[in-house]
Amino acid sequence: MIEISKLKVHLGEFRLKDIDLCIDEGAFFVLMGPTGAGKTVLLEAIAGLTPVLGGRIVVGGRDITRLAPEKRGVGIVYQDYALFPHLTVERNITFGLRYQRHDRAAAGKGLSRLVDELGIGHLLGRHPETLSGGELQRVALARALIVEPRVILLDEPLSALDQGFREEIRLLLKELHRSSRVTFFMVTHDFSEALTLATKAAIMHEGAIVQTGAVRDIFQRPACAFVADFVGMKNILPAFFDGTTAKVGVLSIEIPHRHRNSSGYLAIRPEDIVLSLKPLESSMRNSFTGVITGIIDQGFLYEVHVAVQDLVLRSLITKGAAVDLGLDIGLGVLVSFKTSTVHTF
């Protein structure tokens, strides 16, 4: 178990404020947040590479807050892999072995097992400069895992990779986590990575943790406007609540349950908003007429902006559907969404 309480770090202008986190032993935990939120600083603080001003870090019942980095049993894998350029792949991987109390035979077994698992046997004699991104990442993981740390910190392990490698390494991370007893603590700014890899997550913003919990909960029930925006809820609207109705400007929107406050926000994911030309025969209780004010190309999808009275709702629609409906700027459309897709906070 990792317990971080009231952790404070000052790094020039940047500050980590009272970080509290609790991560189960052997979990796959994800820390998310936009660039500059302080994710890497938090990782380096846990690894002992950044001085801590206050608070405590306890790993497996041992207070490691003031320990030297080499005595913590915390491994780190950087986004740029940080392989030692002057050493071969094999010597990179075995770098940390001499500092562990392993017998040689066990260490040799550990090496061959990891090398097999990661499929890097053919690379052992090569230097890092000749490897591809995916290969570098595998070597970096092997180097960190061979010393059997309690926790491994992964700083955006997938973001520097090409799409093809990314999928491959993502599966590999899942597999490595399953086969080792190590706690994985991964930083990412990509929500889809969190959804596929982790069970629990924390969201960080401007040096503070703004929400922690199960990944699905964060995705479905963001605690604040920042998290909602971060997890891709594009329609975040200030609202007044009255029973199971929310007043947003002049619109009345049906919500799934009563809200504890009289005012707050409601959020609807753009993919949950359906556009049509005629009223739909469905259970969708919320349906409004509007006018298309913008269409943004997002690769496979269009993000369509629809002005409904005095607000703008955003909907994601496939390109095929957009052509079928003949969507164009200035066209009047119906905007519909289910009550259950409306999230309030």
Binding site: E44, L49, A68, P69, I76, P85, Y99, E129
Partner: protein, 261 residues
């Protein structure tokens, strides 16, 4: 072909003037002495001894800079502390102080009137007019070149490599020996060469502290004063040739496989 801008021609002309300015006097000096004179100078024990002394003391100075400067360069490259600018400024002082002043300053500490001079004299260390004195002066003037070169070399190495080494269990000392130093060794060598080059060229400070034993620049000056240009040139030629050869060899050692650094 596209027409060159006037600025291009201005740059080229300035470049030619600068190169000629550097090369012309050197070329004149190198070609002035006859072959017979050069050969005869080589049989002169005083000349050989002074060139050897120049090289030996310069290398000794660079070795001292290596031992004391390496840890300092590492600390300056990797840490931020209050007063770091001041420390860097102090290290640069020997570069800006006029050379004879350096000599006088060192004599001031090494003389019998200073406690340090008394301690040294009790230990049997003599600065005035000794090889020890020459090495002291050369270390003083050469040290900043070694430290500054190595400091920029270490700064160019990603601290993340050291972070990873630490997280794998390596203590600071081991991390330095296995990661930082092997990656910075070219900067170490270049810094060493810079320090040597600066030391070999020193004259003003050495002449104050130790006229004898005579290093090559002092001998060249003495011959020039006593016998004129013609007799000082062959010694100068030999000093330049020996130094150039040494530095070319060291440079060649430092350059290949640059991508690994």
């Amino acid at each position: 072909m596209a027409r060159r801008e006037p600025f291009f021609w201005v740059s080229v002309s300035c470049g030619i003037v600068v190169l000629a300015f550097i090369l012309l006097p050197l070329w004149e000096m190198l070609t002035a002495p006859s072959y017979a004179m050069l050969k005869e100078t080589l049989h002169d024990k005083t000349v050989l001894h002074s060139i050897w002394l120049s090289i030996y003391t310069a290398f000794a100075a660079a070795a001292i800079a290596f031992v004391f400067g390496t840890p300092l360069a590492y600390v300056l490259a990797r840490t931020h502390f209050r007063g770091k600018r001041l420390v860097e400024g102090i290290i640069d002082l020997p570069i800006v102080i006029p050379h004879p002043v350096v000599g006088i300053a060192i004599l001031g500490v090494a003389g019998r009137n200073h406690w340090l001079g008394q301690v040294m004299s009790e230990l049997g260390l003599r600065i005035m007019g000794s090889t020890t004195g020459i090495i002291t002066v050369l270390t003083f003037v050469g040290m900043p070149f070694y430290i500054n070169t190595l400091k920029s070399g270490i700064e160019a190495i990603s601290p993340r490599l050291e972070n990873v080494a630490r997280s794998l269990g390596a203590p600071l000392w081991s991390t330095f020996a296995r990661i930082t130093f092997p990656l910075a060794w070219r900067s170490v060598l270049v810094g060493f060469i810079m320090c040597c080059a600066r030391a070999i060229s020193e004259f003003g400070a050495v002449v104050v502290v130790a006229y004898h034993p005579m290093i090559a620049p002092v001998l060249i000056y003495e011959r020039y004063e006593a016998y004129g240009l013609k007799y000082s040139q062959p010694v100068a030629v030999w000093l330049v040739l020996v130094c150039l050869t040494l530095f070319l060899v060291l440079r060649a050692l430092a350059l290949p496989g640059k991508k690994a650094a």
